[in-house]
Point group: C4
Chain length 194, copies 4
């Protein structure tokens, strides 16, 4: 099987997930600056989730570029990833409402879903490597998965941290987003030659 | 006609159907574990429907891989399938709300829509076979449609069963999902060679 | 310019338009058959609109198959068509709510939007013909646009008719849908050879 | 990297953004002409935003036609553009509600988001030019970016203008839309030869 339709379907789901979040930003009744400021928490949580989904889309894009073929297991590993990503609008809207960014459970749940996304992505990578031979470009790329381990580590810390101080957790999520926004030179160079 | 745009449109509809279901999971007002637990029924019904739609996407993907050409009849058989699949978010949200998973009609309606999806998929397969010659790969694949018959059989039983005990019906739906999640060795091997 | 991305974008918009209509079918509070029956009007209006959008997708698909190139004018003629099609969920939900199918204005508005879609499709056809040379397959196809004229004629009658009796208008809309569901032999044969 | 999937994802997001705006047009309770007129402000703001998004889709389409390759920077410049475009449904619904088109802040916010979209598009162009050599078709096209400068200029004026008279701002937004709807002969000719 070719990767074409897997990419098209994943693009479709990611495009929808990234876009429907904005539906949660209801136009405020109050038309003063105070009214506009009232949507700030949901706006900021939208921005953060947009960056996360952008990172996943970019990484998924890179992953599929080096993938030559897919099987049923890979289709399901991909759907598993899409399932957790599809929960991001829910946690984003929970964290963004009222002053829920100061309440432990919504903040911890946001981190939990991010952790599950990272694990699902990791599984997808393993299943892809298992299906390809040893010349598979992903084998080399995996030396650069140090980012994956750091992210997972930070998520695991950030979840209990939410019950201490939610701002510490949120700082962790922002930190992971920044780590991923930094260009991955090694990956890029390899992509260049394609 | 080529299958390209049929696949693209089906992917689009399926991607939206699978994703908009999550919009029904409203962020709870209550930010305690009890509040989070209150979305459990809709979460579980979402998970089940996600798996069903994933199965349909996978099967549709396989079906289109062996299809060489389409005509007007096939376009409509495909739209007919998409129509029933598009009703899954409605039945998912009905079954998931409050404690509707213990009420006969929502549970039976959920099964009825699944039954209609299975019938629509069956019709699509027949129309595809009728349009291709006898060397068509789908002819061979159809020996493996034993899963189709079992599924339809279980759906037919599960609908009246909902009026006896809804948990029996739900067990049926979970059973069918599990049957389809099991890898279809025969199909996979054939796909491999493509 | 190639038609590829025009088709992809149109598929995207049509897939969303056809799917978001189902979001209007809110799960009823009442879990008896009476509750289920309460969604019947919106279900039937959804079904009718689904068929109309299916017809437009099919026709658009056929149109693009014979199109070799597009220019800016065609892109805008296409967006103009998508604009009117995107209003169908609005009129569908207006006609489907409560007993609005017996009220003149929602029924007439439904017809008006269908009329504008037909006119927009007609404009798209003309713009396409003007941009291609005389061997363009669409020139031949246009002998079969008798369906277009009949549809527009029926729409024009059905709009004032809604102020007499809404059921007469609705019968008109169903009639047009049936006309389009009938296979267009001439078109199909031509497509076959492609 | 090829541009294929970048286009597919952008098409997906734009198709959703352009379509979900119509969800804000709630079917009015009142089924008289007065009821229908009550949705006029949201309808007109939808129409204006539809044209803007159509212009962006068209321009993005042209831009990607001349683009041969993309890198990580371009992926993020594109996501940055999609982020601002995804906020258009929010500002459209804010301006369209009740009589918010006569209130300074919603009108100014609408202009601010359009300004950010224009800046994001400008950045995307620069990043694309920087990544391609000097024979890159975009270099020539950029002589025609006079439209970009005029638009940005008008936006910058229109934002403070909203605090004087909202109708002056709205006239500015309509003016920019009209400027972009005018065919760009130079661009078209170049596209023709492709």
């Amino acid at each position: 099987m070719k990767t074409g339709r897997l990419e098209a379907f994943s693009d479709g789901v990611l495009a929808i997930v990234i876009t429907i979040m904005v539906l949660e930003m209801k136009a405020p009744e109050d038309t003063t600056f105070k009214g506009l400021l009232s949507v700030a928490p949901i706006f900021i949580s939208y921005l953060l989730s947009f960056i996360y989904l952008g990172v996943y889309w970019n990484n998924h894009h890179h992953l599929m570029q080096v993938t030559q073929k897919v099987n049923g297991k890979i289709l399901w590993a991909n759907l598993h990833l899409l399932f957790w990503l599809s929960l991001i609008p829910f946690t984003t809207s929970w964290i963004g409402e009222q002053s829920h960014h100061t309440v432990a459970l919504p903040v911890a749940t946001y981190g939990f879903v991010l952790l599950m996304c990272a694990i699902a992505y990791f599984i997808l990578e393993r299943v892809l490597i298992a299906y390809h031979d040893e010349n598979f470009a992903l084998n080399k790329l995996c030396k650069s998965t140090i980012k994956d381990y750091i992210s997972v580590g930070i998520y695991i810390i950030s979840i209990p941290l939410a019950f201490v101080n939610t701002w510490l957790s949120i700082a962790c999520y922002v930190l992971v987003a920044l780590i991923w926004l930094m260009p991955d030179k090694q990956l890029e160079d390899l992509m260049e030659d394609m």
